[in-house]
């Protein structure tokens, strides 16, 4: 009988934000991602360095300490290509600290699209190329193979699971959303509809969001959350099923929840408490899939994500600007690929990062404050404007490629 366990999975990502890129830059300057103003929230280097100080450096130190103190502590990470590229440029020490974590053998890297894109919904070819590129990058950097897949924003449907199984993954991650599960608990491994072998891990969003979203909310009745309270909730939850899937943004630690909220000490205290019981352990995502048999089939014919109260793609594709932006971007795929121009293809892909359309979200009501916090633009309209000018520039580069017009 396997021990009951926490499956902690953290998502590490930074997009390359588009600067205030006007039509007068289009066809002239191709530096969409280099905002010259270091004080701007669009300056990618400045943002990376800020988040590195607040989150990546202290959290990696804490994770390493936990791994050293607790032989049973394990964690899974997905690390996007756009994050890695920025670290290579501006914070190589952060990348080294991730390598050090992986070297312990108890940190698993999760597969995803290199560019944190929604390519699955636009181009299967491009999507697979990005998954391949990411796997290759992880192999080079960390010397490990990935075996569990997560799609951008945890955007999941049956088709994706079937694809992942065909590709050779043993596991896949999704949101454990009540309308899908009904009376069933997210604390089991499931089998996606239409698949034979792949295991589906579902986010326990209550326990995850207690940490990721509610932890510092003073209006929350459980505030301030202590490790023993959380431990008790975990115990109660695991009456139903053997694993609790805690999926969240890595930046929860130190960036979304600042250090002064007590998030780091909470994390450390919880791990110690949890592992003080010999019946408890941690699993990486692939270990969880290996350790437990699927308890039944789960079907998600429509796409489910981990965002907002709707758990759908409307934060990224809910309005016409977002739909147009990606439509025009992906319309260029064929021509962009034909150029064989690595820089051009790279820029085109960097524009696919889902954050760009997220900044164009106009759902200002229930979820709007979250969106506003994460946007480096004055308004979703500004985000749309600069993005479209960059898309035009990509088109111009395609048109003038090979010296036909240059």
């Amino acid at each position: 009988m396997s021990k009951r366990g926490v499956v902690l999975y953290l998502h590490v990502h930074q997009p390359l934000r588009v600067r205030k890129y006007s039509i007068f830059d289009t066809a002239t300057n191709h530096d969409y991602f280099s905002d010259p103003d270091f004080a701007s929230e669009r300056n990618n280097q400045a943002v990376l360095q800020k988040v590195a100080d607040k989150s990546y450096r202290p959290m990696n130190a804490l994770l390493l300490k936990m791994l050293q103190q607790h032989p049973e502590f394990k964690v899974s990470l997905s690390i996007t290509g756009t994050f890695i590229e920025q670290c290579e440029q501006w914070a190589p020490d952060v990348l080294d600290s991730f390598k050090e974590l992986v070297r312990t053998g108890r940190v698993e890297i999760v597969s995803e699209t290199y560019y944190h894109s929604l390519a699955f919904f636009y181009s299967r070819d491009e999507f697979e190329r990005q998954v391949d590129t990411h796997r290759q990058k992880i192999r080079e950097l960390f010397g490990v193979e990935t075996s569990v897949f997560r799609n951008t924003e945890l955007a999941y449907n049956n088709e994706l699971a079937q694809w992942a199984e065909g590709y050779g993954f043993k596991g896949i991650l999704a949101e454990g959303w009540d309308p899908i599960l009904g009376w069933r608990s997210p604390n089991f491994v499931y089998r996606p509809e239409g698949t034979q072998n792949i295991g589906l891990l579902l986010k326990n969003y209550r326990l995850s969001d207690d940490v990721a979203f509610r932890f510092s909310n003073k209006a929350w009745e459980a505030w301030p959350l202590h490790a023993d309270t959380y431990h008790a909730w975990m115990d109660a939850s695991l009456q139903n099923g053997p694993i609790a899937n805690l999926f969240m943004d890595y930046e929860t630690f130190g960036e979304h929840q600042w250090e002064d909220t007590g998030i780091f000490s909470f994390f450390e205290a919880f791990i110690g408490q949890w592992l003080s019981d010999p019946n408890n352990t941690f699993y990486t995502v692939s270990e969880a899939v290996d350790a437990f048999d699927a308890q039944g089939e789960v079907s998600m014919p429509h796409t489910v994500t981990w965002a907002d109260t709707e758990r759908d793609l409307t934060a990224w594709l809910g309005n016409s600007m977002q739909q147009e932006a990606l439509r025009h971007l992906y319309d260029l795929e064929h021509d962009v690929m034909l150029t064989n121009d690595i820089d051009l293809i790279g820029d085109w892909r960097r524009l696919q990062t889902s954050d760009h359309v997220y900044y164009m979200c106009t759902k200002w009501f229930n979820d709007g404050d979250v969106h506003a916090y994460f946007s480096p633009y004055e308004s979703p309209y500004d985000a749309f404007l600069y993005f479209m000018n960059a898309v035009r520039d990509i088109r111009w580069r395609v048109m003038t490629h090979g010296g036909f017009y240059g």
Partner: protein
């Protein structure tokens, strides 16, 4: 002939055509021997103006005046300025009061033969000046509140001020027959009190100008690909009818693929227009520049093939003449006064998007039609000049002066 000219802006501190018209009119009057005292509500240098005396009614910078919306009277009760030292000039009514007091003092040293007040902003000062000096008042109407508010009613306080001024004026100058009939019909002013003097185009101010085709390089590249560039240069306010324009753009794009629409300018409707361009599925065809002046402004005319003035209500519309001068085929609404001086143009009712779409496709698809339009229109705007505007003003001053002092 001593003229007290009451204005709200002069280049380079103008945000639209009012300042341009005042500048050229005054210059032409000065050339014919008029001695002009010109009052503006802000303090700034006007390096190119040595032909008249400029008086600053307040110590505010021109930027403050922009903020208070010389054109958008709905802002006039908002307090947009901070700081105690500004006294009572924190909203546009405060600035107007200060302007009146300044004119009152100015009349202690200046004795005009005629007072020439431009638009509602300076009408109260004009009435006061008439009362104090006994000189006749000429109210020059460049736009009424009915124009500015587009398809809405507008601000009742502004209507009231306009009505008083039109009643008190000895003579009224309207910039077009459209404006004259509006003054007669909506304000009940006798038709024989209103004289129509159309604005002109100062061709010389474009003389030392060479087009830089790298300003809009993206559009130039598309032109080589056979695209037709349709432009408008305007403020994005409801008066300008741009939502209808976009709808027509979408209709035209259904019939003819190679269009790009250049929206040069900025304003309160920008976000709505961005959103509409996406709603209509033409987001990649609609290019937004933001506020343009100098080279970017002039080059917008040069890169364009077709210029559209889509105004719901446009007293004159100098930009159409500027566009004609830059070899654009011109399309204006029947609600635009400039149509009274041009013949080789297309006209449509502002709401009739199918007609505009038809005209756009017609010009784009026919090189010879475009050629005929652009060549013929040149002879038409060349017939009107600021010198003849000045002649007519001087005659008018003379008549009212004789009448007033008779």
């Amino acid at each position: 002939m001593n003229i007290l000219m009451l204005g709200w802006e002069l280049p380079p501190h103008n945000s639209g055509g009012l300042g341009v018209a005042c500048y050229h009119m005054s210059k032409a009057l000065a050339l014919k021997g008029a001695s002009i005292d010109f009052v503006v509500p802000y303090k700034a240098t006007h390096p190119e103006i040595d032909f008249m005396r400029i008086h600053s009614a307040t110590p505010l910078s021109p930027l403050h005046r922009y903020g208070m919306g010389a054109y958008d009277s709905k802002f006039f009760e908002e307090s947009l300025l901070g700081g105690e030292e500004l006294g009572d000039v924190r909203d546009i009514r405060g600035v107007q009061r200060k302007y009146v007091r300044y004119v009152d003092q100015l009349l202690d040293t200046v004795q005009p033969d005629a007072i020439h007040a431009h638009d509602w902003l300076t009408i109260e000062a004009g009435m006061h000046a008439k009362q104090k000096s006994g000189a006749p008042l000429i109210v020059h109407v460049h736009a009424t509140e009915f124009d500015r508010s587009g398809e809405e009613y507008g601000n009742p306080v502004v209507h009231e001020i306009e009505y008083q001024g039109l009643m008190m004026a000895d003579r009224i100058i309207a910039v077009s027959n459209i404006t004259k009939s509006l003054i007669v019909q909506r304000y009940g002013i006798p038709a024989d009190k209103v004289e129509v003097i159309h604005n002109a185009l100062d061709v010389d101010s474009f003389a030392n100008y060479t087009y830089d085709d790298s300003t809009y390089r993206y559009l130039e590249t598309l032109k080589q690909e056979g695209y037709t560039i349709v432009a408008t240069v305007t403020r994005f306010t409801i008066q300008k009818g741009l939502t209808h324009f976009l709808k027509a753009a979408a209709r035209a794009s259904e019939k003819y693929d190679k269009f790009v629409f250049l929206l040069a300018g900025d304003g309160e409707q920008r976000d709505e227009l961005l959103r509409l361009s996406a709603d209509f599925g033409i987001a990649d065809k609609v290019v937004f520049t933001g506020f343009v002046r100098g080279k970017q402004w002039r080059d917008a005319y040069s890169v364009a093939d077709v210029f559209v003035m889509s105004s719901v209500s446009e007293p004159f519309g100098l930009t159409a003449l500027e566009a004609a001068h830059h070899d654009n085929a011109v399309i204006v609404t029947r609600q635009s006064g400039v149509g009274e001086v041009l013949h080789s143009i297309f006209r449509y009712d502002f709401w009739d998007t199918d007609v505009l779409a038809d005209q756009l496709v017609g010009i784009a698809a026919s090189r010879s039609l475009k050629y005929e339009l652009t060549q013929s229109v040149k002879h038409e705007y060349a017939r009107i000049s600021w010198a003849s505007v000045a002649d007519r003003c001087l005659q008018l001053y003379q008549r009212v002066k004789e009448k007033a002092y008779a």
